[in-house]
Amino acid sequence: MNPEILKLARVLDVEPERLGYLSDVDVADLQLFREQVTTTLFDANLVVLERMALASRLLPAPVVAKIAEKVFGPLLCARIAALVDVWRGVDVAKRLSPEFLASVAAELDPRRATAIITRIPLDTVVAVAKELTRRADWITLGRFVGHLPDPTVRRSLDLVGDAGLLRTAYVLDDKSRIDHVLGLLPEDRLPRLIRAAAADETLWEPALDVLAHLGKARRAAVVPLLGELPDGLRSRAQATIN
């Protein structure tokens, strides 16, 4: 299914199948619509959320962390994260389990919480990336790639298998990042991705999408590998990178 429909379904908390009528809508329009919906949901109840963020300053960080996990849950934590002081948010986040943080990440609008996300310790982010990989939550991984520092992206993507990396790239919000991100990874990763796609037909669309967003140098590096692809994929890959 179109990754934009999957992402919108996530924001609205509905089954993606319900939104099947969006399949012919232009991807840019879907992306813009999802941003409108995200903004509307974040701004709804803003006054109450701001009061809660303010109240949290009165409490010690361990108490806030306990309330976050036991009462607020991932959705409300994601809403409030954008409103709390950066260092306070980082202090609380460090006390939360990777499992809970992964659920918060799934609800978070990374654009609104960049200051916190980029200051969370590397080991914590890597633990969250590991949990998201275990859940096969490529949408959330993909949404964060554009907002994390390069060393964090590199460490996190080391944990993601080749199939997972292709699926993550397929749902990236900012496809112009694909070439840059591949440049952060070891040289043998690109050939491995090509081989993973060759072995699994469900990875063909994601792989072709990745190829379409490669820079000139990396496209040239792919050419010698095309011979390893099955016929149906090879011709499409050739057409994509030429």
Partner: protein, 69 residues
């Protein structure tokens, strides 16, 4: 009172591709957004009350005041 349309809920014009959808689809999107907002508001109201149980007694009054409960 009539329910707010999708554009009214979003506070601005819809992207062309969404505007061009059949009315039934736009009504479904409006309903999905309305439901998501209601769920969020309900969860917030409950969280405000429930979280007080974890607040040390000495701070409960100040927290109540800050949250507006």
């Amino acid at each position: 009172m009539a329910e707010r349309t999708l554009a009214e809920q979003l506070g601005g014009p819809l992207p062309e591709g969404i505007e061009a959808l059949p009315e039934e689809a736009r009504l479904d999107l409006a309903a999905a957004l309305r439901d998501a907002r209601h769920r969020q508001a309900k969860a917030l109201a409950k969280a405000g009350e429930d979280s007080l149980k974890y607040v040390p007694a000495v701070l409960r009054g100040a927290v109540r005041k800050a949250v507006g409960l």
